[in-house]
């Protein structure tokens, strides 16, 4: 296990270094997510009554679009010069590659969220950070589920010619239950609903994460063979 974590850390550091050197993708993705919440703000008539339901959905749609762009890139650096073959030839357990890519995608999404949330609070006049620990837990569980599936599907589609189109086509149906429950939990927390309402949704998110994390880690080894 220590070997897997050491290798995952090395891959993550390498990916972060590459990303920091280009420094263009995070900014562009943030702008894209910001545009989504600005456009929706003008498209809907949001008032005090419908704000919790509408705004939480809009927020998760912005995260979904930004996150999908991010995961799409996670295996592109490895395809350059066939570096993925070098990783496959190395003696590290292949789950280390999955864990590193998942961690990198999670950090990327968390950074985008940290930049988008203040703009969201200002535009929608909603305090997303009401009941902060629970809201943070919803974001964390939503992000883990989203990025676990996203990383797996990005690996699956890495070799396809039309991967930019196929990635969202394959990913979105799988993510639908997660997004519904994440948005509903955020909405319940913003609206100040009974704790039983959001706790049941948080439990669903935790179960979703656990199932897909185990399945993705196991399946990834076979996907690496095809990369």
């Amino acid at each position: 296990m220590r070997g897997i974590l050491r290798a995952a850390r090395a891959i993550l550091v390498k990916d972060m270094r590459t990303e920091l050197r280009s420094r263009e993708f995070l900014g562009n993705t943030f702008m894209f997510a910001l545009l989504v919440i600005v456009i929706f703000n003008f498209a809907f008539k949001i008032n005090a009554q419908n704000a919790p339901q509408l705004a939480s959905g809009i927020l998760w749609i912005a995260f979904l679009f930004a996150g999908t762009l991010g995961v799409g890139r996670s295996f592109q650096a490895e395809k350059e010069n066939d570096c993925i073959q070098a990783l496959a030839l190395s003696p590290v357990d292949r789950s280390a590659v999955f864990l590193a890519k998942l961690a990198g995608n999670l950090i990327f999404l968390a950074l985008v969220q940290a930049m988008v949330l203040p703009a969201f609070v200002v535009l929608y006049n909603l305090n997303v950070m009401e009941n902060f620990p629970m809201q943070a837990l919803v974001f964390l569980l939503g992000d883990v589920g989203f990025m676990t599936l996203g990383t797996l599907v990005a690996a699956l589609s890495a070799n396809l010619k039309a991967r930019e189109i196929l990635l969202p086509v394959l990913l979105l149906p799988l993510l639908t239950p997660l997004l519904i429950f994440a948005a509903a939990a955020t909405s319940a927390l913003i609206g100040g609903d009974d704790p039983a309402v959001y706790l049941s949704r948080i439990k669903f998110l935790a179960a979703f994460d656990l199932i897909f994390f185990v399945v993705s880690t196991l399946v990834f080894e076979y996907i690496m063979d095809e990369l």
């Binding site: 050491r6 290798a7 590459t18 350059e80 010069n81 066939d82 070098a86 496959a88 030839l89």
Partner: protein, 234 residues
């Protein structure tokens, strides 16, 4: 003796209806340098990929160092050099080697990386990104990457592709030095003079079958070329 040996028995590989390899037997003894020739589509790269554990054979067995070529245990003992560099363009030369050193669990990745950069005469370019390298420099760094864990077995797939004459000769002398250090080497190339100069044995594949496998010691290039044309191109 099996420890340093590469062995194929009845290896076959099909991609759908297409047969890439058919019933190939091949043994490379410890310390041997085998060069594999053959026209495009003969199955050379497929055979190399099977031996590296990158592809599973449809039939037969491929063993490297006494273990199944697909077993994770053997991966740390194999170094692969391809016409693709397997290097990250946006990382520096030193960063690339340190990264692969970490992947192979090398005790002192930075120290080993510096040692290898010296071997391939790139120590003064350690902080340059690979994107800025010439093809010859990339290929030399690619050798350093493949040697990071001091592998027992070295596989090369058309390593002379895109190299000018001077770089090719330098690359060849690096390969000879490796061979003298007792590494078991298998190389695919279309360059018969360079291939023969480096090797101790040559094999030829045609249409997925092995049609020639003999020692090259004392074999002249014109003589081998004549034989190659007769067997492969006629």
């Amino acid at each position: 003796m099996e420890k340093g040996r590469i062995e194929c028995r009845g290896v076959g590989k099909k991609f759908g209806d297409f047969t890439a390899l058919s019933d190939v037997d091949l043994t490379i003894d410890e310390g041997d340098f085998l060069v594999l020739f053959g026209p495009n589509g003969a199955g050379k790269t497929t055979l190399l990929k099977i031996l590296c554990g990158m592809v599973r054979p449809t039939s037969g067995t491929a063993r490297v160092g006494g273990a199944d070529s697909h077993s994770p245990a053997i991966r740390g003992k194999i170094g692969v050099i391809s016409h693709k560099s397997y290097l990250y363009d946006s990382l520096m030369a030193l960063e690339n080697l340190v990264f692969f050193g970490e992947m192979y669990g090398v005790a002192d990745p930075a120290g080993r990386a510096m040692e290898l950069l010296k071997t391939v005469e790139l120590e003064n370019r350690r902080d340059s990104v690979v994107r800025a390298f010439s093809r010859g420099m990339v290929q030399r760094l690619s050798i350093a990457r493949a040697l990071v864990a001091d592998p027992e077995f070295i596989f090369l797939d058309e390593p002379f592709t895109g190299l000018d004459h001077h770089s090719a000769l330098m690359f060849q002398s690096l390969l000879s030095a490796l061979h003298r250090r007792g590494k078991t080497v298998m190389m695919i190339t279309h360059d018969i003079p360079l291939g023969l100069a480096a090797s101790t044995r040559a094999a030829i594949l045609r249409g997925g079958r092995k049609i020639f496998d003999e020692s090259t010691l004392g074999t002249g290039v014109p003589e081998f070329m004549r034989m190659y044309v007769e067997r492969v191109e006629k």
